[in-house]
């Protein structure tokens, strides 16, 4: 079973991601802030990360940047941000985040994106 880490500080959005992804038969682990996500990614192995950008303690960009600087191998990352300013998208590209989605997400589109990313790792 594919293991996905969802990093999201909003309880209801977390519930939405969790329900959709578990329905698709993925194993989902929850993380509610950037620092926690950073620590989890440091020790655990995941197939995919769903990463919010504006997070408490450490923002999504910093999580990826810090781990890359420490040469820790990251699974593929789907950033899901509510911040719609253009700068975020280019920043995500700079840091090397594979996909950047803007909230609100389209559920079926999101499921397809997740599937594509997980197939890519094979």
């Amino acid at each position: 079973m594919k293991k996905i880490l969802v990093v999201e500080d909003n309880e209801l959005n977390m519930k939405l991601f969790y329900d959709i992804l578990t329905y698709q038969n993925y194993s989902v682990e929850k993380s509610y802030d950037g620092l926690d996500a950073y620590n989890k990614l440091k020790v655990n192995k995941y197939d995919l990360v769903i990463l919010d950008i504006q997070l408490p303690k450490m923002d999504g960009f910093s999580v990826v940047k810090n781990l890359k600087e420490e040469d820790i191998r990251l699974p593929s990352v789907i950033a899901v941000s509510a911040c719609a300013m253009d700068c975020d998208k280019s920043r995500a590209k700079e840091i090397g985040i594979d996909t950047y989605l803007t909230k609100p997400i389209d559920v079926s589109g999101f499921v397809t994106t997740v599937k594509n990313h997980l197939n890519k790792t094979f």
Binding site: N10, L12, N13, K15, L16, D19, I20, Y23, Q54, A82, C83, A84, M85, D86, T102, K103, P104, I105, D106, V107, S108
Partner: protein, 410 residues
């Protein structure tokens, strides 16, 4: 003689430098000086002071200065005549028999008269030296006046500079304040956008999850309501996006990344997206394209223009209507028209329609809320592509939006 003239000059300089022109001392000095030039003579100087002519005269044998108002008739007489002329006055206790008058004047500007009056006969030499002194006094007075005018102007200029500097400081301060406010506004809008999108993500996500019926079957009413929730959520999202767009344009922060795109392809894609909307009203959409080449445009923004205009056309066209999308190339320009046979726009609104927050009251807009920013954004997007947008419309006949994009064909 030249010594006397030099002394006169120096004296006048002194008096003027002490800003004593037109005061008692000035007259007294001049009169005494001139009296000393001639034996047994009386001198008078009078200046135009506003509308009143006041004579100040000194006589050698009387040390005091006399000052009295001149008879206007006499003034007129003097003004009429050329300078340096002999005249006799009725108020003659001041003057002797031999009297001459010389204008205190530089060219046409007359500021007074000097009168020389003596018991003796006035010789040619006396006349000449009198004229010379009067001329000197004239120039000194003119110099002084110019000096005064210059001083006033200098003061005015200095004041203006100070005022300008102050104004500049104020503007600088206000500019800084505005920049801060603008930053606050942008930050606020970015934040509000974030804050609104977060719950909207849950609303849209959960309703899509319910709509997909993966967690259980819905009855007809539930399915209908969940669709209504989705439509309203998407409507809300559209408005959030419009507010964000307009604030980006206002902050000059709208990004523009052009590439070579196929406009026909873009048109077809947008028409496909809107298919459910126009099919629902049984509206026919025809694409009449006379241009097969590529254009330099920002793909996403070009489609946004099309989306805005087409969805508007669909909104304001009744059932069974017709919408035409016509495009062609003219020189290096790309012309795009979106024509509907809908309700049309009254002429009086044509100039207002691209302005912010404009709502036209009609049966369509009263049932559908909107930000009133759609066409403003569209106009800005067209401008971004070096284009301009105009409209032709007649009530109940339809509306055509015409865009001309300059030099964007490849």
């Amino acid at each position: 003689m030249s010594d006397i003239l030099n002394n006169t000059l120096n004296l006048i300089d002194d008096i003027i430098n002490k800003s004593e022109v037109k005061n008692k001392n000035f007259y007294s000095h001049i009169l005494n000086l001139m009296s000393s030039l001639y034996k047994n003579c009386s001198l008078g100087i009078f200046f135009c002071e506003n509308t009143e002519y006041r004579l100040r005269a000194a006589r050698k044998n009387k040390k005091n200065i006399l000052s009295y108002k001149i008879n206007p008739v006499m003034v007129k007489k003097i003004f009429k005549n050329n300078s340096l002329q002999e005249f006799k006055t009725v108020e003659d206790d001041l003057f002797y028999t031999n009297t001459i008058v010389q204008k205190l004047a530089i060219k046409e500007s007359v500021f007074g008269f000097c009168i020389l009056s003596t018991k003796d006969e006035i010789t040619e030499e006396m006349k000449n030296s009198f004229c010379a002194v009067v001329n000197l006094i004239s120039y000194k007075i003119k110099d002084y006046e110019l000096n005064e005018v210059f001083k006033i102007q200098l003061k005015a200029m200095q004041d203006a500079i100070i005022e300008k500097d102050n104004a500049y400081e104020i503007i600088k301060k206000q500019h800084k304040k505005l920049q801060e406010l603008d930053k606050t506004k942008s930050l606020f809008l970015a934040n509000i956008s974030h804050e609104l999108r977060t719950p909207l993500n849950a609303i849209i996500g959960f309703s899509q999850a319910l709509d997909s019926q993966i967690f259980g079957k819905l009855n007809d009413k539930q399915a209908e309501y969940i669709k209504d929730i989705q439509i309203s959520s998407l409507h809300l999202l559209g408005m959030i996006n419009e507010i964000l767009d307009i604030s980006k344009f206002e902050a000059h922060a709208m990004k523009f990344s052009p590439s070579e795109i196929n406009p026909t392809q873009s048109i077809k894609e947008v028409v496909n997206i809107l298919e459910p909307l126009y099919k629902n009203k049984n509206i026919k959409v025809e694409i009449k394209n006379d241009f097969e080449g590529l254009i330099n445009a920002d793909s996403q923004k070009f489609q946004q223009i099309l989306y805005n205009l087409l969805s508007n056309a669909i909104k304001f066209t009744p059932n069974n209507g017709l919408i035409e999308i016509v495009s062609h190339k003219h020189d290096a320009n790309y012309i795009l028209k979106i024509k509907d046979n809908g309700i049309g726009i009254d002429k009086k609104y044509h100039s207002k329609i691209f302005k912010k927050f404009v709502h036209l009251n009609n049966i369509y807009t009263t049932t559908q809320s909107s930000t009133g920013l759609g066409l403003t954004i569209t106009k800005e997007l067209v401008k971004l592509h070096n284009g301009k947008i105009t409209l032709e419309s007649e009530l109940n006949k339809g509306t055509t939006f015409i865009m001309e994009f300059k030099n964007i064909t490849v």
